[in-house]
Every structure is written in C-alpha cells, then in structure tokens.
C-alpha cells in the first residue's frame, strides 16, 4: 500500500516528523492561547557576578 507514491512506513515517518516539530506548537496554542494560562515570567533581575572557583 502506498500513500502519495511512497510506502506507508515512509509516509508515517514524514507524519511523525511533522508531529514531532509541532508538539511545542500544540502545547502553546492549547495551554497559553485557548486556555489562556499565563506564562510564568520569573526571570531574575541580577545574575551572580562570578561563581566561586572550586577547582
């Protein structure tokens, strides 16, 4: 059996690739756009100037 001229197994690999790349898209659209859940914007103001040298 072939889909779009290629074997089903190969077609499924293409589909899996599209799905794999779209997982984040789907999460963002469902959770943050449709459900309206805000993104936690906890970004610290100041980064530590320099960590201790322990080696």
């Amino acid at each position: 059996m072939s889909i779009l001229g290629m074997p089903t197994g190969m077609f499924l690999v293409f589909v899996a690739t599209l799905v794999a790349g779209s997982l984040g898209t789907a999460h963002y659209v469902i959770v943050h756009v449709i459900m309206g859940q805000p993104v936690d914007e906890t970004i610290r103001e100041d980064t530590p100037a320099e960590v201790g040298e322990n080696v």
């Binding site: 001229g5 074997p7 690739t17 790349g21 984040g24 943050h32 993104v39 960590v51 201790g52 322990n54």
Partner: protein, 491 residues
C-alpha cells in the same frame, strides 16, 4: 574525516547570477551598517539588549536553523541516500525543538548570556566557562566551514567565479557585517532571509512537483530509481541502532548550541522564548518535509535529464544551472543563499561572543570593561572567520559528514550533564564537569576510531557522560554543588 576534493571547475561567468549575488551582498552590508549605528554597547552586540520580540526571535531562529547543510547537504543526502535522512536526522532535530520548548523557561529564567554562563553557575566553578567554551567554539568553527563550503560551491557553480576566490569574497562580507552590528545585524537580516527562504523553497518545490507530474508521481519515480530511496532505513543501508544514535545526536544539538542559548537569552520574556520555539518547530517541520521532497525531485530530474553528479553536494547547484529555467533558478538561488548566509552570520557571532565572554574574560582579563569586551568580540569574530574561510578552501569532509561530527561532539559533551543539572541542582559541580569532559572526549574519540564494535559514537559519548555524572554524583556528593540559583522553577 578525510579531505574532500571539490569540483571547482568553472565555466563562463554568468552575469545575471553574478549581478544578483553582488546586489545581495551589498544589501546585507547595508543592514550591517545600519545595525552598527544601533549597537550602543556590548549587551546590544551580544544579546540585542535582551529585547528580542516574538516575530524577530522566531524568524531569526528559523533562518539560523536552515543552513548550507539543510539546502545543499540535505538535498545532496537525499540524492545519495533517499528519504532515510528524515528518519535519522530530521525527526531528531524536530523532536529536539519541541523538547527545548518544554524546558526553555529553565534556561531563560537564569537570565544569563551564554551557555558557559549557565554551566558555570550550575557547577559553581568558573573553570566550566573555558571548558564548555572550547567545545562550543569547535562546533561553531566546524559549522562555519560547512556554511562557507556550501556557499562557495553554490556561488561558484552559478556565477562561474572560481571557488578559491569566491570563498574569500563570501567570508569577507559576512565577517564584516557581523562585526559591525552583532546580534542586531544578525537578527534583522535573519528576519528577511528566513521568510524569503521558506517562501522560495515552497515555490521551488511547487515547480518541481508540477514539472514531474504531481507529488505521487515524483515519489513513484524516486522509488523507481531505487526502492531504497523511499525506505525509512534505506532498505538495510542503515541499522536501527545507527538511526537511533543519529536521532539522539541531532536531538541533543538543539539543546546545546551556543547560538540557540544566546538567542533564548536575548528574548524579552519567557513567553517570547517559548513562543519562538513553538512557532519555529511548526515552520521548520513543514519546511524540512518540503526540502526533502525537493531533494527527491532533484534526484529524479537530474537522473532523467542525464545530469547525474558524483559529488552529492553538487546535486542542487547543478539542478539550478542545468535543469530549471533561469527565472526559477534565480528564485532558488536567493533562497539558498539566504539559508546559508543567515546561518553563517549567527555562527560567526557565536564565535565572537564565546571568545570574548567565556575565554578572554576567564584567561586574560576578568575585569575588562564593556568597551574592551566588545572589541575582543569583534576581533575574535574576524579571526575565527578568516581561519574558517581558509579551512573551507580545502574542507576536511563533505558537508553532511562535518554536520554529523559536530552533532556527536555537542550532544556527547553537553546534553546530559547540563540539563540534568538544571533539574537536579544538588548535583556536584565536579560531577557535571567530569561528565562534560568524558562526553567531549569519548564521543568524538570513538568516532575518530571508526566506531569499533559497531557502537555508535553518539551512544558511547552520551553513555560515558551519564556514567561520569552518576559516578561523580555519588563520589563527590559532599563537595560544592550547583548554585541554588535565584528562583528555579519547580517543574
């Protein structure tokens, strides 16, 4: 990797293509000049003043992602090995983008600039900065060579200007505009180049599909050339374990690229950081499916027209020159050049940031002011660019082989220790560093030995990194652990 003789023979200079290329170079130089005026300090140069919005971040990521590898290397790989590249490489890359989306807040909330910054904090040791910096520089430098080889091959083929001259013209222009405007230059040129590239590849694929009688017909002809072309594992050409290792290696590169981390830290919020990966994941997965099918179309067209090539990296340039009409060829050239050069500038920029922020600051002058660091960034960008251009004159391997090598290096060295430490902040800093060093040595080392015992280098590298982390976690559990950080999230 062995040196690859490039077929750099040229015909007559094509004034149309050469003219287009010159206009293109002048346009990016103009953007570089404009960005120079907008770059006030080292923060602008390195991370766009941390004001990168969603649209700019998304398209900058897309444009950076699609490189010479994508256009020339991937099309060449499909030409030589069929659709199996989707199983082994593209799937891993796409899964990686989505995976990074789910952990990107952990990176952005730390509010650093570079990847070594994060690792220095996680390990509690400044020495992590140069160790990681060396791994990242090696990756960025190999990536630069790949880009320049791809660009040089393409432009030489289409313009007729000899490769050894063209490579220096391309290298010179991109060093110049990256040095002028830093991430401001890079982001804005990427926005233009990214959108152009996706649109034009769609047009090119549409042309090829129409020309070859539809998508199903294209795939049937591709299969008729060799049934292995449409087999997920290349009809036995690749083993399941080999493909799994490839997926792991390329999945890991998404998390461990300095350019990606710098861009994440340049975003104006965590929402933007998440959005740009969410949007880019969708755009890139569609783009790569189109690109791989364009590779199949190229294979069918060249074989049907008696234009078969020996060096697979030349498949796409030959298609443009010998098969498609000039108008369509011009569109494709613009797309390819956009893809290649938008990645080149990002990697050049990443080299400069790493050299100044992670190496100079540690080894030479820890109290250098912003002006000094900006100067070091610019000078090191020039230095790395010139050396990479010189190496590209006689590259050490095909584009796809270089691409594989740096994937093994990055993933082996950095994927496991860094992201494990982000979630398990009580991990000993020594264990994280030991894991990084073990992975960096064992992955590429195993690859250099020719992957004995049939064990893929990515598995050996990642396996040793895990071993180093686990053993070190118990051996050094009483020593200084990762910094607790200011506000690590719970998830």
């Amino acid at each position: 990797m062995s040196s690859v003789p490039l077929q750099t023979g040229v015909g007559e200079v094509n004034p149309v293509y050469l003219g287009i290329f010159v206009v293109y170079l002048l346009a990016v130089l103009a953007i570089g000049g404009w960005a120079y005026l907008r770059t006030d300090d080292v923060s602008d140069y390195w991370v766009y003043g941390k004001e990168l919005g969603p649209t700019l971040a998304t398209w900058s990521y897309v444009a950076n992602f699609v490189s010479a590898v994508s256009v020339i290397g991937f099309v060449g790989s499909v030409y030589g090995g069929g659709y199996s590249i989707v199983t082994g490489i593209v799937f891993g890359l796409m899964l990686g983008i989505s995976g990074l989306y789910f952990v990107v807040h952990k990176v952005r909330e730390l509010n650093h600039i570079t990847f070594p910054d994060i690792i220095a904090e996680l390990t509690g040791r400044e020495v992590a900065r140069p160790i990681t910096g060396c791994v990242l520089l090696a990756n960025a430098w190999v990536y630069l060579i790949m880009q320049l080889v791809g660009a040089g091959l393409l432009v030489t083929t289409i313009t007729g200007v000899p490769y050894q001259y063209m490579i220096w013209v391309i290298g010179g222009v991109f060093i110049l505009y990256t040095v002028m405007g830093g991430l401001v230059s890079v982001a804005w040129t990427d926005l233009a180049q990214g959108t152009l590239m996706v649109a034009t590849v769609a047009v090119a694929l549409a042309y090829m599909v129409f020309d070859l009688g539809g998508l199903a017909s294209l795939n049937q002809q591709f299969m008729a050339l060799d049934p292995a072309n449409v087999a997920p594992l290349g009809d036995g050409a690749y083993t399941l374990i080999g493909v799994a290792a490839s997926i792991v290696a390329f999945f890991g590169t998404i998390f461990t690229s300095q350019a990606t981390v710098v861009r994440i830290n340049a975003t104006d919020s965590i929402r933007t950081a998440k959005f740009h990966l969410a949007a880019a994941g969708f755009i890139l997965s569609v783009f790569y499916v189109m690109l791989v099918m364009l590779g199949a179309g190229t294979t069918v067209a060249l074989n049907g027209a008696g234009l078969a090539v020996e060096n697979v990296d030349r498949a796409f340039p030959v298609l443009i020159m010998e098969y498609v009409p000039t108008t369509v060829g011009t569109i494709i050239i613009v797309a390819i050049m956009s893809g290649i050069l938008s990645t080149t500038d990002t990697r050049l920029h990443a080299c400069g940031v790493t050299a100044a922020h992670d190496l100079y600051d540690y080894f030479v002058d820890g109290s250098a002011d912003d002006e000094k660091l900006l100067l070091v960034s610019r000078v090191s960008t020039i230095g790395f660019g010139v050396v990479a251009t010189a190496a590209a004159v006689n590259p050490p391997g095909t584009i796809i082989s270089l691409y594989n090598w740096r994937a093994i290096l990055l993933t082996s060295a950095l994927l496991v220790p860094v992201y494990a430490a982000l979630y398990y902040r009580d991990t000993s800093g020594k264990a994280v560093l030991a894991s990084i060093v073990l992975g960096a040595v064992c992955g590429p080392g195993w690859n250099a030995l020719g992957e004995p015992l049939g064990a893929p280098a990515a598995f050996v590298g990642v396996g040793m990194a895990i071993l180093g982390l686990v053993v070190g976690r118990y051996a050094w559990q009483d020593t200084t652990s990762a910094s607790p950080g200011a506000t690590p999230s719970d998830d």
